[in-house]
Symmetry: C2
Subunit: 80 residues, 2 copies
């Protein structure tokens, strides 16, 4: 089973990387671009085949390693 | 209109960051975890309200700045 995990900065947390992208897009001539935020995308391939067990496992992975829950939110989807 | 852009390494391109995550997950006791790949997630808020124009714009952003198309693939979705 494959898990697709999205990790994004919480609202209100400064995102200098996003700001840099926004500035560069503007200077490249893209107008009307606001509020760029950069996050992480992690794809994990799991041996686990049972959906509930896989969900629990990915949840623990996010809490323990993948996301810094002080400043980041995470969400994930399982692809069969 | 909001765009959610996913940028991932192409298959076959080495992903040391993914390997590091995989190793750490294993050492934390998560078993059955294979092939971890890390990518980028970019959220862009656009003034553009017409769907087709927004799609073209995001496509150009990816080609010109956001993705390194030699080693990365990109995909995106527009959220109304």
């Amino acid at each position: 089973m494959k898990a697709l995990i999205k990790i994004t900065l919480k609202n209100g947390v400064l995102d200098p990387q996003g700001k840099a992208i926004e500035g560069t897009l503007n200077s490249l001539g893209f107008s009307g671009v606001n509020d760029v935020r950069q996050g992480k995308l992690i794809e994990v391939d799991l041996d686990e085949t049972e959906r509930q067990a896989a969900e629990d496992m990915v949840e623990r992975m996010c809490e323990e390693l993948l996301a810094n829950t002080v400043i980041e939110d995470y969400s994930f989807e399982l692809l069969a």
